[in-house]
């Protein structure tokens, strides 16, 4: 009798636990018969947050039987959170994703929906998406993501300051250094700033520098985890170039983030900033400086590609278990109308044909858009291009270089070892 009581209590406790563990199975259909779509993006900041909130409202009005739950966190946190979510059953139905190795990692979870059939079924929609931008989301001929925004990175300069000091737009790396020296003499003690606390900002620099100084064939080999070695001397040269550039960034750069650096540029305090085209509108809104931009200049005598443009698309991915209405929402998000409105609101360029025109972007962005559409080759962001463990060695190494705690040789040695560990 007593024993039965004992076991029944035990059983009761256990079942409550087990029940608690299983309770979130059926969250795709809510009580009032609406289909719920979980939407996760990485822009809790303006103007995109409001834009997507607005679009969600619009979509729910058009489709009263669909309810969309939205959640968002910022860049670096987003990377971490989505990695955690993809390993669980709580993966959102539709979410933002970068291309290349970031996308590949997510795909390897086998929880991402292949979209080939979706693309083939609705040519009217899919043919409007610029073809070349799909490559970063395609692995073994299967496409797992729909590219949406396109981007590139360039040096932006304050036209007034350059004119005042008679500085020409630099065409080579040596000219860039000469220009920075001249600016320093003119009283700008930190002519170039960057938010070095954001490791991705460092990876953007390093990625482009490596494009310039390392033989493209070597890069292809090293960007593939299976064959990566990182033994080329060019990497040392590249890290030295970065080290030299950080000497123009001053102490302040090691303690601020990219947004702070951008605001300094927009306020006219800093003449040069390495920045994404996506940020053009933000600079225009934050200040009234007149600016132009130039691609990262050629490094004379180096083996790399002197004109390759760094920048990769971002897009949307869909969970394998997503309700079928999600696809419709995906098409809504990537339709020409949404895209045109998106670029008008945000300023970032997109991969939908006909959605970037003189009407919704300023001349600078249109110039950038042409540069992106016509670039001979585009290189993905460095932290998306190589394994994250190797990228981390370079990114943290970059921080240490800026604070003079390490040498290019040590970083490369560590990267070689890490590349070896990943095989």
């Amino acid at each position: 009798m007593k024993k039965t009581l004992f076991f029944s209590i035990l059983l009761l406790l256990l079942t409550t636990f087990l029940a608690a563990c299983n309770s979130d199975e059926e969250n795709s259909a809510s009580a009032d018969g609406k289909v719920e779509i979980d939407f996760f993006h990485r822009w809790p900041n303006e103007p995109r947050k409001s834009f997507y909130d607005e679009k969600i409202k619009e979509y729910m009005e058009q489709n009263p039987d669909v309810h969309i739950n939205v959640d968002s966190v910022l860049n670096d946190s987003y990377k971490e959170k989505i990695r955690v979510l993809v390993s669980s059953d709580d993966l959102p139905d539709i979410f933002a994703a970068w291309s290349d190795s970031f996308a590949e990692n997510l795909v390897s979870s086998e929880r991402i929906m292949p979209l080939n059939d979706v693309i083939k079924e609705d040519e009217e929609w899919s043919s409007k998406i610029i073809d070349s931008q799909f490559s970063g989301f395609t692995f073994d001929d299967t496409t797992y993501g729909i590219p949406f925004t396109v981007d590139g990175k360039a040096f932006f300069y304050n036209k007034a300051i350059f004119e005042e000091n008679n500085i020409e737009v630099p065409k080579t790396y040596d000219e860039l250094i000469a220009a920075l020296d001249q600016l320093q003499d003119a009283g700008y003690s930190e002519p170039l700033v960057e938010g070095l606390t954001n490791t991705w900002a460092i990876s953007h620099y390093l990625g482009t520098i490596f494009e310039r100084v390392v033989d493209p064939a070597v890069l292809d080999k090293d960007y593939n985890a299976e064959t990566a070695e990182f033994t080329d001397e060019g990497y040392i040269e590249g890290l030295e170039i970065f080290e030299e550039l950080t000497s123009y960034m001053g102490d302040v750069s090691t303690a601020i983030d990219h947004e702070a650096a951008r605001n300094m540029f927009a306020a006219g305090e800093v003449p040069v900033l390495y920045m994404q085209f996506a940020e053009i509108k933000m600079v225009e809104e934050a200040g009234d400086v007149e600016f132009g931009f130039f691609d990262f200049p050629e490094v004379e005598g180096a083996k790399g590609d002197p004109t390759a443009l760094t920048g990769a698309p971002e897009g949307w991915m869909v969970s394998k278990n997503a309700p079928k209405e999600t696809i419709d929402f995906l098409k809504f998000l990537t339709s020409e109308e949404t895209a045109a409105e998106f670029t008008k609101t945000d300023g970032q360029l997109n991969a939908i044909e006909g959605a970037v025109t003189e009407e919704n972007v300023n001349p600078a962005s249109l110039e950038a858009y042409e540069l992106i559409s016509n670039a001979t080759s585009t290189a993905p962001w460095f932290d998306n291009a190589v394994n994250i463990n190797v990228a981390d060695v370079f990114m943290r190494g970059g921080q240490s270089l800026a604070t003079e705690q390490t040498t290019p040789e040590d970083i490369l040695k560590e990267a070689q070892q890490e590349a070896q560990n990943q095989k």
Binding site: K2, R83, S108, T199, V252, A260, R396, A402, Q405
Partner: protein, 300 residues
């Protein structure tokens, strides 16, 4: 039905076990099981993305001992512990004594609240706040230094590899000192007043009273507080994660931040488990040594 004496004795044995059962169950499921599982995981190499695990034996631990970053992190944790013991335990005891002194009787309640407020603010809020204080351009700290003519001492506190960890530690002290002080105040209030009166009659000054009465009387609390601060310092995560994320480079890395980055940023779950095991062993050793030395529970 008639129950024999044996039956009653048996029931009396079962009842206490029944009372203990829920807590045992909770501890088992939420503490001990994950601990064992973590130890088990550290023998594998696996990714959160893939369901397969590869057995690698002790090689994660071998890697652990040759990893320079683990060494940096461990040293940072030890710095954290030492500084925390000095400020949070030693200084908090002095602070508590002063607050309990007759001279401060009137404003002591107000000061207690002032010191305790930081404890009640969320650590994320505090970290963001200190981010502004340490900001190199418009930060309060550098502006203050410039104001009093020490502008040459102003550095980007969080961006400088030599100062970043200390800047993080300093914030922790500011936050936690109130909590420890409060524990000491409670302990001091329990000391019989006669002891102080007798000492005063004997001509003992305040400092003599502090060392000969207060310190021995709060010994138990002293050890408990040391245990709290040292294990806390070994586990510290929020402060460095929010303020610097271990940077610049790896200069303000702590073991917990490193574990998190290995697991969720670099996707080496097995290695992260090994780091977690290391953290467990280090804290367990510290706790055991302290309990042994203090002989908690055997006094009186």
């Amino acid at each position: 039905m008639k129950e024999g004496a044996g039956m009653i004795a048996k029931r009396n044995r079962i009842v206490p076990i029944l009372f203990l059962l829920p807590s045992l169950l909770f501890l088992g499921i939420f503490i001990y099981m994950p601990l064992v599982q973590n130890f088990y995981n550290s023998f594998f190499n696996f990714s959160v993305f893939s369901p397969t695990k590869e057995f690698i034996g002790f090689s994660a631990f071998e890697q652990l001992f040759s990893d320079k970053i683990v060494m940096t992190a461990l040293i940072n944790n030890i710095k954290y512990a030492v500084i925390s013991v000095v400020f949070q335990v030693a200084f908090a005891l002095v602070l508590a004594t002063i607050l309990e002194d007759k001279l401060f009787r009137r404003i002591a309640p107000l000061l207690r609240v002032v010191y305790f407020i930081p404890v009640m603010i969320s650590i994320s809020v505090i970290a963001l706040l200190f981010g502004f204080i340490y900001n190199p351009q418009m930060g309060l700290l550098n502006s203050f230094l410039e104001l009093i003519g020490l502008g040459n001492l102003a550095v980007p506190w969080l961006g400088n590899a030599t100062t970043s960890i200390y800047a993080v530690i300093a914030m922790s002290q500011w936050q936690s000192i109130g909590f420890i002080t409060m524990l000491f105040i409670v302990a001091i209030q329990k000391i019989p007043k006669e002891l102080y009166e007798a000492a005063e009659i004997d001509g003992a000054g305040k400092i003599r009273q502090f060392f000969n009465i207060t310190v021995p009387q709060v010994k138990e609390t002293l050890f408990v507080n040391m245990l709290i601060t040292i294990t806390g310092a070994m586990l510290v995560f929020n402060e460095p994660y929010i303020l610097t994320n271990g940077g610049p480079g790896t200069s303000s890395m702590t073991l917990s931040v490193y574990m998190y980055q290995q697991g969720f940023f670099k996707d080496n779950m097995g290695y992260a488990s090994a780091v977690a095991t290391l953290i467990f062993i280090v804290t367990a050793i510290f706790a055991l040594v302290q309990i042994k030395v203090s002989g908690t529970g055997k006094d009186e």
